[in-house]
């Protein structure tokens, strides 16, 4: 089930909420965890019931392994072997389902093996639930976690707001909340904040991201099909995708935070205006925050982090970003994307080191604006590789961006025929302007609602604009409009004008 589907919004969610309210009213709060667990499994199984078995198997196995590790940690006899076994098991699972085809292909190419095309259907959310559980096992080993109740553990992994696309949650962040929030039952405060976040998230996804996709998708489809992309179209397509993926993913995360809040649970923040970042380092502190945090704590630091000199540090950074890229999907384009960010981060760190004595640089507005522009350009450039299905497609867009097909020849800088771009409609620029202003200049919803701390761990940035959410009639009306605008755009009945035949 998707958050932006009718079945979810009009059937699943109301039913789950009513069950939650009834159970807490009737003083059956001990049944709330089983209820939410059952509904979360329905939520997951709706897509492909068969993979429920996989999810449950993974949950039970990790629960048992975690219990053993936690016991070792409590008794002062660390069970590193069990941890190793558990982590390897999770990696094997994700490796089998997600990366088998990819590595078989590499093996065929490099070593002449003949695995051929290996195609295993990818179980939904496997990247998220395996990572969350690996973190849990490591936390158990560190003595930070250890859950005695299998039902609670299962809910921690499968809780539907966060199951499909994060945020990736730490055990310690939510477990205690389960106790208190569920015994209190629904409250007007939680519902008001939750519904507001859901409305905003849905709007970002359905109204902004889906409309931007209309402009990004054809450009990349043309590029992947071997077409030539002109300067204007390449820029429009790249920027449209840059904004699309932000509004899509952050909208989804806002909905996840809002959905959990309906049940009184505060999830960690996942996006905090990443396109306002003035450096790549800052970008990664604002983009998919729970993944960055995971990669830092469970990959970069265990690899050695910055403890063994700058060379090892840069090597660790690169390794982390390459694997982080691969996590997004089994394909070279994701590796290239991760590698680009690795390079950007290394440059960024080297620059910080080189300029550490020039503190005025960081305060100068002009320098800040240039830094922001460079950051957003680097990020957008990397998205081209992330989005294109093929390397050739990505390069076709890159060629368009630098004007190889039309701008450079017309300036006499390179020879060759000037490629006449089919051009882009004016509308795309209007959408880019609106979405860009929202992403770069406007305060985000966590700033606007700062007083009520909608998410865990949100930065304490104030906004200079006098936009402060309060439960007033005006805010209710605005949010109501945002909600209804999103709902009526859920269905764009596919249009087809073709009467000539």
């Amino acid at each position: 089930m998707l958050f932006n589907s009718y079945i979810f919004l009009f059937a699943f969610l109301p039913l789950t909420l009513v069950g939650f309210a009834v159970l807490s009213r009737m003083d059956h709060s001990k049944w709330i965890i089983p209820w939410l667990l059952a509904m979360s499994l329905v939520f997951y199984g709706w897509w492909q019931p068969i993979y429920l078995a996989l999810l449950l198997g993974s949950v039970i196995a990790n629960f048992l392994i975690g219990a053993s590790i936690a016991q070792g940690a409590r008794t002062g006899q660390p069970r590193t072997g069990v941890l190793f076994f558990g982590v390897a098991g999770n990696l094997a699972l994700i490796g089998w389902f997600k990366y088998l085809g990819f590595f078989a292909g590499i093996s065929d190419a490099l070593m002449g093996t003949e695995f051929g095309f290996v195609d295993v259907a990818l179980p939904l959310a496997i990247s998220f639930f395996t990572f969350q559980q690996i973190a849990y096992l490591v936390d158990c080993h560190r003595g930070l976690a250890g859950e005695p109740s299998i039902l609670k553990y299962a809910l921690f992994v499968t809780f539907f707001p966060q199951l499909i696309a994060g945020p990736i949650v730490h055990h310690s962040e939510v477990m205690r909340q389960y106790e208190t929030a569920f015994s209190r039952g629904p409250s007007a405060l939680n519902l008001a904040i939750g519904v507001t976040l859901i409305a905003v998230g849905l709007f970002k996804k359905v109204v902004i991201a889906d409309n931007l996709a209309l402009y990004a998708t054809p450009v990349f489809a043309d590029a992947d099909a071997g077409g030539t992309i002109g300067f204007a179209r390449a820029w429009a397509g790249t920027l449209a995708y840059t904004l699309q993926i932000y509004f899509d993913f952050s909208g989804y995360s806002d909905m996840a935070v809002g959905l959990a809040r309906l049940f009184g649970i505060r999830l960690p923040i996942n996006f905090f205006s990443p396109y306002k970042a003035t450096s790549i380092i800052e970008f990664w502190r604002r983009w998919h925050i729970t993944l960055s945090r995971f990669l830092r704590d469970y990959l970069y630091i265990p690899l050695g982090g910055s403890r063994y000199g700058s060379f090892r540090r840069y090597a660790n950074l690169m390794m982390t970003m390459l694997l982080g890229g691969l996590w997004h999907g089994a394909g070279w384009s994701f590796v290239i994307w991760g590698g680009l960010h690795g390079v950007f981060l290394i440059i960024n760190h080297a620059w910080q080191f080189a300029t550490k004595d020039f503190k005025w640089l960081r305060r100068n507005v002009g320098v800040q604006i240039v830094s922001w522009a460079m950051t957003i350009l680097a990020v957008s450039f990397a998205w081209v590789f992330f989005r294109a299905d093929t390397f050739d497609g990505a390069m076709a867009v890159v060629n368009g961006l630098i004007g190889v097909n039309d701008i450079l020849p017309s300036m006499g800088l390179i020879s060759g025929e000037v490629y006449a771009d089919a051009g882009t409609g004016k509308r795309v620029w209007r959408w880019l302007l609106i979405a860009g202003v929202i992403a770069v200049l406007c305060p985000n919803i966590y700033q606007i609602m700062r007083r009520y701390r909608p998410a865990l761990g949100q930065p304490n940035h104030k906004t200079r604009l006098p936009l402060r959410w309060r439960p007033t009639t005006v805010w209710a009306g605005i949010t109501g409009l945002i909600l209804v605008a999103s709902l009526v755009l859920l269905t764009q009945v596919s249009e087809f004008l073709y009467f000539r035949f």
């Binding site: 009718y6 409250s187 007007a188 405060l189 519902l191 008001a192 519904v195 507001t196 409305a199 439960p471 007033t472 009639t473 805010w475 209710a476 009306g477 949010t479 109501g480 409009l481 909600l483 209804v484 605008a485 709902l487 009526v488 755009l489 859920l490 269905t491 764009q492 009945v493 596919s494 249009e495 087809f496 004008l497 073709y498 009467f499 000539r500 035949f501």
Partner: protein, 413 residues
């Protein structure tokens, strides 16, 4: 206090969203811009469905379930614009008649809509209007086509249609815009409108053609389109329509329609549509003349084979194409209006009436004697030869037309 304000916030928020959402649904229901909620059509309010063309595949799949016709007209845009479903020529026992034709519809879509209508259980008569291009082997379903709307699945098994689409459409902004346009444009006549019977009426094209410098540019436009997309020469497009063993040939879909028709004891008539003679020149210039002839042979053979299989007399295959008083109408150089055609491909409903009159032996309509012949295994070779001869005559009598139509293919080379 604070608690109360959060409660009030929720009530206002959900109240605003809910009331707007439901009001929009009510407006959409009352206006029924795609004619899928079976609401009354009120003159001056919503009688003319100006936006139904955008969702024609949805609309017709749903409308036919409400009409429950005794007769269906199946075909492509020629049948949709040209064969009137409401006309005294349809005898009482054939009514109600519903025009299921779709623009852009290849034979597969025509077959599926036919099967859908037949599975509803009321269909006793069918007029199946075909053109060569519907049998393109590179066919694909058009955007907006969905198997989930039919009461019978592609394997012929009964299925429950997905009616959530109808509900979703009710609460869509897109529908709301169409509702507003529908109410606001009842007095406009520059549009193609679809009647409740499924036939589209281009009621204003005459005024429109006057502003577009008349019919001749329209002919050229349509011929160019056929030459560059529909009747692209082989091997760019595959027109291997005559191989009876080719499982991907749309002829197999035609066979399936005829078989279904016999199995359900439906009285069917097959019509080869009367496009203007200039279109035959486009076919000829594309090197498809023999394909066109073979296609007609195949239609007759399939009808004969299926008739024999069913133990019933073969359905009549009416050929209105070729060269006759209608198809050779003079194309004016001025903005003067033509009597029978909109453009080379689409004929007017006046021609559709002549087709009906000829097939139903109507005595009160004056049908040109050379318009429409029945093709059978006995007569077909004679009729094909007659058309070949008639073409030679046409080339001399309509030299300018023939050359103009043929030149579009030269642009391909």
């Amino acid at each position: 206090m604070i608690r109360r304000s959060f409660r009030r916030y929720l009530i206002v928020l959900l109240g605003v969203a809910g009331s707007l959402y439901i009001s929009m649904g009510i407006v959409n229901l009352l206006v029924d811009p795609f004619g899928i909620y079976d609401m009354p059509r009120i003159d001056g309010f919503n009688a003319i469905k100006v936006d139904v063309d955008k969702h024609i595949r949805l609309a017709k799949a749903v409308q036919v379930r409400n009409v429950l016709p005794k007769t269906v007209i199946v075909g492509s845009s020629r049948a949709m614009l040209g064969i009137p479903a409401t006309d005294p020529l349809w005898s009482r026992e054939k009514q109600p008649v519903y025009n299921l034709s779709l623009y852009g519809g290849y034979l597969y879509e025509a077959m599926r809509y036919f099967e859908h209508a037949v599975a509803l259980g009321t269909v006793e008569h069918a007029v199946i209007v075909v053109d060569l291009w519907m049998f393109d082997r590179d066919w694909e379903t058009r955007p907006g086509f969905s198997e989930a709307r039919f009461v019978v699945d592609p394997d012929g098994q009964p299925q429950t249609p997905d009616d959530t689409e109808i509900l979703k459409t009710l609460f869509s902004l897109d529908t709301f815009r169409s509702s507003l346009r529908t109410v606001g444009r009842q007095d406009r006549d520059d549009i193609l409108i679809q009647g409740a019977d499924g036939t589209s009426d281009w009621r204003s094209a005459e005024g429109w053609l006057r502003t577009k410098e008349g019919h001749r540019p329209q002919f050229g436009y349509m011929e160019h389109m056929f030459a560059t997309t529909a009747w692209w020469p082989e091997p760019g497009r595959r027109w291997a329509v005559t191989d009876p063993n080719d499982p991907n040939s749309p002829l197999q879909f035609f066979r399936r329609m005829i078989r279904t028709s016999y199995e359900k004891s439906i009285s069917s008539r097959i019509v080869i549509s009367p496009s203007h003679a200039r279109i035959w020149e486009v076919i000829h210039a594309g090197g498809l003349w023999f394909t066109w002839e073979n296609w007609k042979r195949a239609l007759v053979a399939i009808v004969d084979e299926e008739a024999e299989r069913a133990g019933k007399p073969p359905y009549k295959v009416w050929d209105f194409s070729g060269y006759n008083a209608i198809t050779t109408e003079r194309v004016p150089n001025t903005q003067e209006l033509m009597q029978w055609y909109w453009d080379g491909s689409h004929f007017k409903q006046s021609v559709g009436r002549l087709i009906l009159a000829r097939m139903f032996d109507a005595t009160d309509v004056d049908v040109p004697s050379d318009f429409g012949v029945v093709l059978s295994s006995v007569s077909i070779e004679h009729e094909l030869a007659r058309i070949r001869d008639a073409r030679e005559t046409y080339l001399t009598t309509h030299k300018q037309d023939a050359e103009e139509a043929a030149r579009w293919h030269k642009l391909n080379k």
